[in-house]
Amino acid sequence: VQGKEASKIMRISTGLLIVALAILIAVGGLVLVQRLYSTDQRKQHNDVAGFIYAVLGVSYAVLLGLMLIAVWEKWNAAEALTTDEANELAGIFWFAHALPQPEGRHIQELVRSYAQVVVEEEWPLMAQGRSSPKAWDTLDELRATILGLKPPTDAKQMGYDQMRYEEILVQLHDLGNARRERLLAAEQGLPPILWVVLFLGGVITVGFTYLFGLNNTLVHLLMVAALALIISMSLFTVAALDYPFSGDIRIHPSAYEQDLERFRESKLSDL
């Protein structure tokens, strides 16, 4: 459910709405405070409020700045994961060509249908933080087929076949890992408690500025609007990059599509 909500939030239009709303509320809040307490009343405490705000504002700014960078790293890592997975998939495909038939052919079929299921079925599901059961089944069958291969017995070919066999096992293992990490990246965002901190922190950072008394109300309003704009925009960016497979801005399955194209054209294909 959380993923489904997330994919809705990550629309660009929703982002614009959130930013506009944040600015409106922030400015409205200041107007309200201005009505209730006169500027002169608030001005007396500017010094002390300033000391406290310096700590508060800077702490929040550091937190938000680091979050922006952290989710960007997560985004890049997720993109690298899809390339890894597609690479392992292609590696297994090429290796399978040298295997005795019909197992080799069967493995190539499974690899191809796995890539297809990922592109066509799993990608839309990942936007909602889910995975495709069919992709799991295909991977299980691929694993069973590879593990069921007869160990090489011909003494002359032993060394090489042994190496080929071990290599394909390593790739199978890496494929499974990349897949698991990809699904994890799709469904797991920042822990909710961190979102509470980020959101409340933003509200407090903007709200605290109401306590200052400025002679020029227009300048005060502008400052508050600017602060609300940059904070809400950063928060939206954190949310959008934190779910790299959902929303308008997301990673595309181009690595797998490329695999499928290579499988179609390759001379090593037995399909």
């Binding site: 700014a61 960078i69 960007w72 390339t83 020029n216 940059i230 950063s234 960016t237 001379k267």
Partner: protein, 257 residues
């Protein structure tokens, strides 16, 4: 994309001058609209609020520059490894019987040449960039030639590992060629930069040349960092880029034999 191809110094100067001009114009406008005595009275409170904004922006800018720089170094390493792998494969081909030896050596040479000459200009052109189809075809054929051969010695088996490593590093290079800063983060950086600079217009400074000088200094620094991030963002595009020198060196060593 257009600016990325343009001479780096010229555009840098143009961009910085334009930004400084805008900043000074903004300052002049605010100075006219908001009287000095009001601005001076608000300096302390404004400065405190400003701290939250500039810390957020400074962090985001500094880290973006840092990460763009480290991706650039990673791209260099990838290129270097890939080029060395091709050269190693060429050497290893000596251990193969004909016709594989000739076939592999031909493919290694053509691959290095096509990557350096044909593929390099295509790198990073658009997000879906897959490099040159010609280079991809040569790489695939190299993989196929090695995989198709039944090796009898352990040296020949090494070719299998090398060819996989070549494929991996090729994919990594293509990925790195279009991995830049996400568009949303760019918007945050740009809007944040504009805010950080325009906030300073509202300070009241007796002696307006001092105000103007500090605004100019801040603008130059912020724009310089943004411009550097922009130029280094895609490691295979524009004037600051990883050059195919490693592939040219590999090609040279392969021809030398």
């Amino acid at each position: 994309m257009l600016i990325r191809e343009a001479p780096i110094l010229l555009w840098g100067v143009v961009v910085i001058l334009a930004a400084v001009a805008f900043a000074l114009a903004g300052q002049a406008l605010v100075a006219r609209l908001v009287p000095m005595h009001i601005r001076v009275a608000d300096n302390t409170a404004l400065g405190t609020i400003y701290s939250a904004l500039y810390v957020l922006n400074a962090l985001a800018l500094a880290f973006s520059l840092f990460f763009v720089g480290s991706s650039y170094r990673e791209a260099e390493t990838t290129t270097n490894t890939e080029a060395h792998t091709v050269a190693d494969l060429y050497q290893l081909a000596d251990q193969f019987p004909e016709p594989q030896r000739h076939r592999m050596q031909d493919l290694c040479r053509s691959y290095a040449r096509v990557v350096a000459e044909e593929e390099w200009p295509l790198l990073g052109q658009g997000r879906a960039s897959r490099g040159s189809p010609h280079a991809q075809a040569l790489a695939d054929e190299l993989v196929q030639t090695v995989e198709d051969f039944e090796p009898t010695t352990s040296t020949q088996e090494q070719a299998l590992t090398l060819v996989q490593s070549l494929d991996d590093h090729r994919e990594l290079r293509l990925l790195q060629s279009h991995q830049g800063i996400p568009a949303l983060l760019w918007i945050v950086l740009l809007v944040g930069g504009v805010m950080t600079i325009s906030f300073t217009f509202f300070f009241g400074v007796e002696g307006s040349w001092l105000h103007r000088a500090s605004i100019t200094a801040l603008t130059v620094l912020v724009v310089l960092i943004l411009y550097t991030i922009y130029r280094v963002e895609y490691p295979f595009t524009g004037h600051i880029q990883v050059r195919p020198a490693d592939f040219e060196a590999a090609l040279h060593s392969m021809k030398g034999e």
